[in-house]
Symmetry: C2
Subunit: 284 residues, 2 copies
């Protein structure tokens, strides 16, 4: 039986701060290379068009773009020519607002623009506005895609919400610096296993204003198998072929004749506290 | 500054199916050994008193005990004599009900009896009744302890609820068989990191009715550091000294002068779907 598959590529790049034209040109080169190698969806890091370590909101605003806008148009032109989809992290300017966004683009145009909802006190995110949400799933010819960015994955709720809404693959542009090694080592596997979904994290490499980024882009299967992984320090493209149906059934045989199911076996009646902020975390 | 610490031991054992008297005697030997080595809390596996791979409810009921009951009394006597706390997995009979429980015992008596709420289709759990919940935190002289068992950890909500209610350490008696290697390899680290809590998983070893158990008991710090780990195939006791205060602040410096906080940075307004069962998982 030929199950439908999506060939995904992750382009681990080293964006140069402020150099939008050069960064986008390099991404378009990667997009073409990956498409030539059969990729149907090509994922780039967070802030792939601009770099990340801005020191002020004004700096970030100076390279943020509207969606649609000039860089999005360049990617869309390439998507149409190459018959490929792409997900690209980029700072977005929307009137007075500044978002840390990821655009999902394809031959037919803009599929989605996701604005990061969980913001760490780091780089661009110190100056960005909170995304208005919700965390949601985008049905597309390359699968049911849940989209989130970097620090979003630290919160198990984010991946969970998208998996419960039917995501087959979670796509996760990121900028992991030194200090978050536990994320590529453990968290991305946990998000795949606990939700029985494919998980695609694409990080950057290189240094920027004293921050070193650790690469290790990874594509994980719904059973926690590492399908592809990049190294810690160089630009490269990784590939995996995703049998999306593996993410649609949440059941696995736990003993002969008996199936446990990661969704059906949930007990939501006990999870109410998750929709509250605990007293010690509320602003004082 | 001398921070309060709790010295925890995990006793990775090989229970013999049905042999309650011998299993409890062996546990009491481990309890004494660990107490002599300074442990203040000694954790045993799921179903440590009986084994796990029952083939019928009647089989399980034949060795399940009330709480309090004869085996609990033996442990309590030892806790009083040794001035130590213990958490022990055991099948519990409560009238007509059968639970997969973990009892939390100390010198002053029974601290808690937790009844497993997430049941896989495996071993005892095929015949057990669902625990009535809630998932909760037990304040004790050895810390604020969240208690859950084996398959409960597959659901990120379970650990999350207890962390949000103030757990400093999640204690997790388990019976991991072949096939769930991703749990000791990734899930237990993720539960610690994402909730900024200590995580103590104590598994069994050995074989039972065709099932092989994989050991690898682990104690993880709130930053995902492995504080202690047991091997895959032999009985042993592991130890770690937990500085519980590390689990009380959820903040970590993400850039100089800027603190990200795994609790404060949550966005609960987007997590509502977690309290629902998705349509495809509802019984048809």
């Amino acid at each position: 039986m030929n199950e439908p598959r999506t060939i995904v590529a992750g382009a681990q790049t080293n964006p140069r701060l402020f150099e939008v034209e050069a960064n986008v040109s390099k991404c378009l080169g990667n997009l073409e290379e990956a498409a030539v190698h059969g990729a149907q969806l090509v994922v780039f890091p967070e802030c792939a068009t601009t770099g990340y370590c801005f020191d002020s909101r004004a700096e970030a605003m100076s390279v943020a773009e509207p969606v649609p806008g000039p860089s999005v148009e360049r990617f869309l032109t390439a998507c149409r020519r190459l018959h490929v989809y792409t997900i690209v992290g980029m700072p977005e300017r929307a009137g007075e607002k500044l978002y840390n966004s990821a655009v999902f683009l394809g031959p037919e145009g803009i599929v989605a623009c996701y604005r990061k909802v969980h913001l760490p006190k780091l780089g661009l995110d110190r100056f960005a506005d909170h995304g208005p949400g919700p965390l949601q799933v985008y049905r597309s010819p390359v699968g049911a895609v849940g989209l989130y960015i970097c620090y979003d994955s630290a919160f198990p709720e984010a991946a969970r919400v998208m998996a419960l809404e039917g995501a087959e693959v979670l796509v996760h542009p990121t900028n992991w610096p030194v200090g978050v090694e536990g994320t590529p080592r453990h968290i991305v596997y946990a998000r795949a296993i606990e939700n029985v979904v494919f998980h695609v994290s694409v990080n950057r490499v290189g240094d920027e204003r004293g921050y070193h980024f650790i690469g290790q882009s990874k594509i994980i299967s719904p059973d926690g198998e590492e399908l592809a992984a990049a190294g810690p320090d160089r630009e490269e493209i990784i590939y995996a072929s995703l049998a999306l149906a593996e993410a649609r059934s949440k059941g696995r045989m736990s003993s002969p004749g008996h199936e446990s199911n990661r969704f059906r076996d949930r007990r939501p009646e006990f999870y109410g506290a998750i929709t509250q902020q605990p007293p010690q975390a509320r602003p004082s």
